[in-house]
Symmetry: C2
Subunit: 228 residues, 2 copies
Amino acid sequence: MDEAAPLNRYQLAELGSLLAEPARAAMLLVLVDGTARPAGELAQAAGISPATASAHLRRLFDGGLLALQAQGRHRYYRLADERVAAMLESLSLARAPALHALPAKGDAQLRRARCCYRHLAGALGVAFCATLLQRDWLHTGSRGLQLLPAGVDALAGSGLPLPNVAKLYGRSCLDWTERRMHLGGPLGVTLTAAMLEAGWLRPLPRGRALQPSADGLRRLGLLGVSLD
Amino acid sequence: MDEAAPLNRYQLAELGSLLAEPARAAMLLVLVDGTARPAGELAQAAGISPATASAHLRRLFDGGLLALQAQGRHRYYRLADERVAAMLESLSLARAPALHALPAKGDAQLRRARCCYRHLAGALGVAFCATLLQRDWLHTGSRGLQLLPAGVDALAGSGLPLPNVAKLYGRSCLDWTERRMHLGGPLGVTLTAAMLEAGWLRPLPRGRALQPSADGLRRLGLLGVSLD
DNA sequence: TCGACGTTTCGCCGCGCGGCGAAGCGTCCG
DNA sequence: CGGACGCTTCGCCGCGCGGCGAAACGTCGA
């Protein structure tokens, strides 16, 4: 049977079945931000008993979507890798409303700037990535996106010291709210961590939204990043 | 329950359950190339009875993944829109082998050039898109990617007349085999159709692979598109 | 060493799903 | 008009799954 597709029917069905339960879906979604969480917490988040959670977590682990790290009596689960997070984000594609019909005001913060598996996403992430490309500070190589020395210098000049990023590669990551690309991969994670460290971005107490600081917005503006 | 994610658990689970059957998955995968096919053909492709296929197609239709077009006694089904195709392609992310462990030789053609929902994908699609960006023939605007006049001229000069593309927008589409972007959206579809029309690309009798012609490769080479 | 904690395994129950053949409906052509 | 075709609906069957409480296991701290 001619299945000229990235996955064959059984692989696609297996992936689908791993997601096809609200309890498992809830636990995966909680982990999209890249954190590791103990089984009990995931059970509570999903609203099921520890026994049920345990069965579901095992299925997700056996299915390759989760990684496990035991620490004493705690079992910490996290997404297996960035590709799982990207897959979960990209599943929004088929469900996302048209761009003109945007999420409610409450989601504006998520749309503006958020953490997508430890790298910056949202309008700010997309604008930042576009600026790097427009100014030729980002080079598309065979191994991925690479920050060029001019870009390193520009960012350092704006107060974002970035040692050793020349060796890091980034990946284009589809932004579900903007429908354009932001910068993921190790480079994206490092740049985001640097912005958090420098205070350009601040995490909010709950959820994945990130709050750009006034100083951060100013510095990004000077780099040419515009939100609008 | 704090679900700061693009989809809530029920939406994700619903999507997952639509995919969680090899028969439904098979029918979706057959349609990834953008074609419309009658119910009977889809039943055969999935290896199930027409009665079973009918039930599955209804579920996919009700779930928003398929569109239906009746024509006489034939019921033609196709993917609801490009986002469904993109979702299916992107589901490969979590399952794709590492880049160094590539698919078998038989898939080399798919990797090289293929049709992803009516636009060019694969190594050639990625290289073509990269060239357009590197030469500043493609502009990232707020509505999407737009071919600039210099790009239109360059392509016309190479034998690819492109009337009225200034009004078309393209979208970055993640290429599952290359892990980089190729050009999708109406612009990508139009460029691909033009290449097929000009004979630069030829469809193969079966599957989604596209065969670049010698002349097409030569002209693309002159534009700066290199495959390697 | 023992009790508490976090988690997993076991056993059970009820429900939903995928498969089919037969019948029925709408379209088409001789 | 009637038979054939494409497809859907109906009724049936067997199987797998998600939920739980209780018991068991491994870890930890007093």
